[in-house]
């Protein structure tokens, strides 16, 4: 052996020791690409607030996950892709990263190649690129609970249940008003497919970002005279849609909001115009759930709460952040049962997410009964069959108005696989098997 190879070994050994002492052996780190300013700040503060509140709850109440402390730091993205990439590059060198949770489709798209190289999970709860549901092609991307196609199917199923069955949809007219962005356009083909399948008339109208002027779109809607309008909005577009609907005389209780048009921040600015408006959700709002109560008592009681306005505790985005916290923490806990109670690698946490099975009993044990239904992620199904429910705004708060509804996963899976396989071909990705998924990189 040459002198240099010895030197190299010594250097690696030193780096390893230094690295190991720098990570305090038992810490799991969450890099947060949050957005607390800019047009989408309401969503960002609520979601990241809820996520941080739950991580704090685990640290304060349980001393971490089986003794492994949870840590995090934030970088502001303003929901902009370039800033998201910058924050990613800045935070990715931190040790012990569990998973990324950007809550932005644009940023998530830009990260797919990067996190796949790094072998660290990317969680896009309730949103993201639909075909990442196919874990065979996207090993590290998890659109947990609800991907855009399932959401579409859930909304159509709900409208059908209001009309008295899927066969009653025939001849009905539905307008989809969507945000002019990758997120907004993601469901165009699936609404078309469902319209052919169930025979309802469909018209999809784009609202250019950010959507604070919608007179023309709503005049078109008035001319078309649909039975239902599906609002696929985001941020300021939502209250403006509801107000403009009122002005043009379209009834709010025939507008169904999608999962990013379902928060208090979307309806309160619309005032009276929002009364009767219904929206889909994967997690109910309100603070009556035991886990939310514990956060109020333990985290806000200790003055460590993340939300500035306590009135937003239990709001839709805050509860989504809490549910996101539960899913991330449980994935780490499940991975620990296999790999030991220590700081896990990103790939080990990926294994945890691929075995993230929380049945209603486990959800109840976590204090989240009725907050969300259940999840059942596997190596090839990265969405995990989330159930949806519908809530109606009464002018003051959201009230649940439906049971837990299952989207038509069987119908959607072949379309998802077609898309993901095309992606695999374009990028030259080898399609993973169940054995590949069990091979885990543990440093």
């Amino acid at each position: 052996m040459t002198f240099f190879s010895h030197l190299k070994k010594a250097a690696i050994a030193t780096a390893f020791v230094l690295g190991a002492t720098a990570v305090h052996a038992d810490e799991q780190y969450f890099p947060l690409q949050s957005y607390r300013v800019g047009p989408y700040a309401a969503g960002g503060t609520g979601f990241f607030g809820g996520f941080i509140d739950y991580l704090n709850l685990i640290n304060i109440r349980d001393g971490g996950v089986n003794g492994v402390k949870l840590t995090w730091s934030e970088g502001e993205t303003q929901y902009e892709v370039e800033k998201g990439v910058e924050v990613y590059e800045r935070l990715k060198s931190n040790p012990g990263i569990a998973a990324w949770n950007p809550l932005s489709v644009g940023i998530a798209y830009a990260m797919i190649d990067r996190i796949t190289d790094d072998k660290v999970p990317l969680i896009t709860i309730n949103h993201g690129r639909t075909d990442t549901t196919d874990g065979r092609v996207f090993p590290y991307v998890f659109p947990l609970l609800l991907n855009p196609y399932s959401e579409t199917s859930g909304i159509v199923n709900y409208i059908a249940s209001k009309e008295g069955g899927l066969d009653k949809l025939k001849g009905k007219k539905i307008v989809v008003l969507y945000h002019g962005s990758p997120y907004g356009k993601e469901t165009i083909p699936i609404y078309e497919l469902l319209s052919q399948k169930y025979g309802f008339e469909l018209s999809q109208i784009e609202v250019p970002h950010p959507g604070n002027e919608q007179q023309a779109q709503w005049l078109t809607i008035r001319r078309e005279h649909p039975d239902y309008v599906v609002l696929r909005g985001w941020g300021v577009m939502n209250p403006v849609a509801l107000k403009t609907a009122q002005k043009t005389g379209f009834p709010a209780d025939h507008i169904v909001g999608n999962v990013w048009s379902n928060s208090e921040e979307d309806v309160i600015p619309a005032g009276d115009a929002a009364k009767g408006y219904t929206a889909i959700t994967t997690q109910a709002s309100g603070e009556q759930y035991p886990v939310v109560q514990e956060i109020v008592k333990t985290v806000y009681g200790a003055g460590k709460g993340n939300l500035e306005e306590k009135s937003r505790i239990g709001s839709v985005y805050h509860n989504l952040g809490i549910v996101n916290g539960i899913l991330n923490v449980e994935a780490v806990r499940i991975a620990q049962t296999k790999f030991g109670n220590r700081t896990l690698t990103g790939d080990e946490v990926r294994w945890g997410f691929e075995h993230l099975k929380l049945d209603p009993a486990r959800v109840e044990a976590l204090g989240a009964k009725d907050l969300f239904h259940s999840i059942n992620v596997s190596w090839d199904n990265h969405e995990g069959d989330g159930y949806v429910t519908f809530q109606q705004w009464d002018g003051k708060k959201w009230n649940v108005v439906s049971d837990w509804i299952a989207p038509d996963w069987k119908l959607l899976r072949p379309i998802i696989e077609k898309s993901s396989e095309a992606y695999a071909k374009e990028k030259g990705i080898k399609i993973r098997t169940a054995e590949d998924a069990e091979a885990v990189v543990s440093n």
């Binding site: 607390r36 644009g106 798209y109 990067r114 997120y183 356009k185 993601e186």
Partner: protein, 345 residues
């Protein structure tokens, strides 16, 4: 006068003037690939290079030829989407050819939207180039063919390779970027020191006088639009393929056009060096501020408050700076050099 100055600068080979570029090239190819961290490359150098190149392109049009344009990011979008489609639809097309074809596509669109410049000037022209901004974004969103019928309209960058060498890693993408920028910048430098470059300046300084002395004004303006859009189009390819690795039409919005315009105003109009200095300022300064802010006040305020205060600081600095030195960073740089020179002699 400007023409004379350029002539004088051109005649002898001035080694002193070449020292800095040579040193920079040595750093770009030697030190950075060997030692730079992934953060430096991915978050700072790649956006810096793409924006610098776009600014060089716009500076040719606005700084040298005097045609104000707000369509830069539209031409970037044309370049990015053209490169994606050429790569997708023409089997085995080399990367260099893809980039050149993308540039030519952008140049074509540039000429079309440059036509109003034959009648319009100044602010009126700026407003008419806005049409490019809106039209291109609309067309790319409207017709699914441009994004290969991807439902969300977002395309991801293809595998990058030159002569069998994969350039997908950060260093490879950086080398591709830096080489493209150096080659195109060298060509622009040659151009502005040539007869065509002098025609650009003549058109800018006094269109009537230029016509009188026999400069083909119409041809010159369209040529400026074509070359400028070519370069901006290639910058769009770099932005999409080497930096973000994903492209959506909304990513090339009016904000980006303004950003590039601010780069050349802050850096210095009609100066190639200014484009680089301005891009460095716009890319790096907010990051320094944000890191400094997080370091000093991270515990006291949340990231939102910090971000807001950075914007205020940045805005104030730009105003102060432009009052102190209206000719931009490039002029400031010269002044600094003179001062150091006079002190040492």
């Amino acid at each position: 006068m400007a023409v004379q100055a350029l002539d004088a600068a051109r005649l002898p080979i001035d080694w002193q003037r070449l020292a800095l570029p040579v040193a920079l090239i040595a750093v770009a190819y030697g030190l950075i690939p060997a030692y730079a961290s992934s953060y430096l490359v991915e978050a700072i150098l790649l956006p810096f290079l793409a924006l610098s190149l776009a600014a060089v392109g716009l500076n040719l049009l606005t700084g040298y030829c005097g045609q104000l344009s707000l369509g830069s990011s539209a031409f970037m979008a044309v370049g990015a989407f053209a490169a994606y489609n050429f790569n997708l639809r023409v089997e085995g097309l080399p990367l260099a050819a893809t980039m050149i074809l993308a540039g030519i596509s952008a140049a074509g669109i540039g000429v079309v939207f440059g036509l109003p410049s034959l009648r319009l000037r100044g602010f009126y022209l700026a407003v008419s180039t806005l049409a490019a901004q809106f039209f291109v974004q609309w067309a790319l969103t409207k017709f699914g063919w441009f994004s290969n019928d991807n439902p969300s309209g977002v395309i991801s960058a293809p595998h990058l390779a030159v002569a069998g060498f994969s350039l997908d890693r950060a260093t490879g993408r950086y080398l591709l970027s830096v080489t493209t920028v150096i080659v195109l910048t060298a060509l622009v430098w040659r151009l502005v020191n040539s007869a065509t470059g002098r025609n650009f300046i003549a058109v800018r300084d006094n269109e009537t006088a230029a016509r009188v002395i026999g400069v083909p004004v119409l041809k010159t303006k369209l040529l400026a639009f074509a070359i400028s859009s070519f370069i901006i189009g290639v910058a769009g390819v770099l932005w999409a393929f080497t930096y973000l690795r994903t492209v959506e039409p909304a990513g090339f919005n009016l904000d980006r056009s303004f950003q590039i315009l601010f780069i050349i105003i802050i850096g210095g109009l009609a100066s190639i060096r200014g484009a680089f200095l301005g891009a460095a300022f716009i890319v790096i300064f907010p990051l320094i501020l944000s890191r400094l802010g997080a370091f000093l006040f991270g515990g006291l305020f949340d990231s939102g408050v910090l971000d807001m205060s950075q914007r205020i600081v940045l805005g104030a600095l730009i105003i102060i700076f432009l009052i102190a030195e209206p000719n931009g960073l490039s002029a400031l740089f010269d002044r600094l050099k003179r001062r150091i020179g006079s002190r040492s002699s």
